[in-house]
């Protein structure tokens, strides 16, 4: 493995390739999750502030972790841009995960609106990480619009169904010259590992942890799986035979004749 294997997003360097979600679980578990995941980036959402809640999620996120606000709730580019600007005004950096959905059943991202929002936000100096349906043409448009990474979905958000779009994510990995971060639908460490073996730059997971029996332990399992997959990718996977077999043992010196 290379000595320095950094994930670079918008000029920022990260050692961890596990982007952690913070939704659907207690704020009190965040610190343990970040620690056991080894995560350096955590996603957040922006919502109307509630005066009755005295606790703020920012108080639970360890220092030094990069915040990645998403634009969830946006139904078009205009709403996503608005949410991104508000997120930046919250004073925690200029990263944004653009997430635009028109469909409320499958929560599938709207690639066309996402391209538009990416272009506007990149021009305003954001590090834009668009969440998208894995389509090569749309991904190329996002690259041209100024995206810092591409975040294709593995399967519908929160489904834990794994790499349903595997072949199309592979196309993005092969053809797009930006980090491909698999986001949404990864339910198990083995699926995260597989995506990393394919050459994904990182994995984003939330529901897989939030619905696990022991969240910090699952965070640790994901971390190990992602690291294993990365090492396997960097080492170069062994070939697969189309048919037949290939002995691993010497074909001479048998104890016969």
């Amino acid at each position: 493995m290379k000595k320095e294997d950094k994930l670079i997003i918008g000029g920022h360097e990260f050692n961890s390739r596990f982007i952690l979600g913070s939704g659907k679980y207690s704020m009190k578990l965040i610190e343990a999750a970040v620690k056991d995941a080894g995560a350096e980036i955590i996603t957040l959402a922006v919502r109307r502030a509630n005066t009755k809640e005295q606790e703020n999620i920012l108080d639970y996120i360890p220092e030094g972790v990069t915040l990645l606000p998403n634009t969830s709730g946006a139904r078009n580019a205009e709403e996503a841009v608005r949410i991104a600007r508000l997120a930046r005004e919250l004073g925690c950096g200029n990263f944004v995960k653009v997430e635009i959905m028109r469909d409320t059943k499958y929560l599938l991202p709207d690639n066309q609106e996402t391209i538009k929002a990416t272009e506007i936000l990149a021009k305003e100096g954001f590090v834009v990480m668009p969440y998208m349906y894995p389509d090569l043409n749309a991904a190329r448009d996002m690259v041209n619009a100024g995206a810092a990474t591409i975040m294709p979905l593995a399967s519908p958000i929160g489904s834990n169904k794994g790499l349903a779009t595997k072949e199309f994510i592979q196309i993005l990995i092969d053809e797009i010259d930006l980090p491909i971060i698999v986001d949404a639908g990864i339910g198990r460490p083995s699926q995260a590992c597989e995506a990393m073996e394919m050459g994904a730059a990182a994995i984003m997971a939330n529901t897989a942890l939030a619905t696990a029996g022991d969240l910090p332990m699952m965070a640790s399992a994901f971390r190990q799986a992602i690291e294993a997959g990365r090492k396997a990718y960097l080492s170069g996977l062994g070939r697969v035979l189309t048919r037949g077999a290939s002995a691993s043992d010497p074909l001479t010196g048998f104890l016969r004749d």
């Binding site: 913070s22 957040l44 703020n56 915040l67 608005r82």
Partner: protein, 64 residues
């Protein structure tokens, strides 16, 4: 009246700073939008709320 996060409140004539001081909001943890435009923190003291204004006050929550 001023609409704050969808609820009408009596804050006409107050600055954004003065209004926030009457609430439980932590000014360090919120962002404010007035009639669709962000009110930067440096403008809280000089932005006076008018009748019919609509404010959105947001903060970070857990999310993916």
């Amino acid at each position: 009246m001023v609409k704050v996060n969808g609820i009408e409140v009596d804050a006409v004539g107050k600055t954004v700073s003065e209004y926030i001081a009457t609430t439980e909001y932590d000014p360090k943890r919120i962002a404010v939008e007035r009639n669709g435009d962000i009110v930067f923190k440096s403008q809280y003291d000089v932005t006076v709320l008018e009748d019919g204004d609509s404010l959105e006050i947001v903060s970070f929550v857990g999310g993916g």
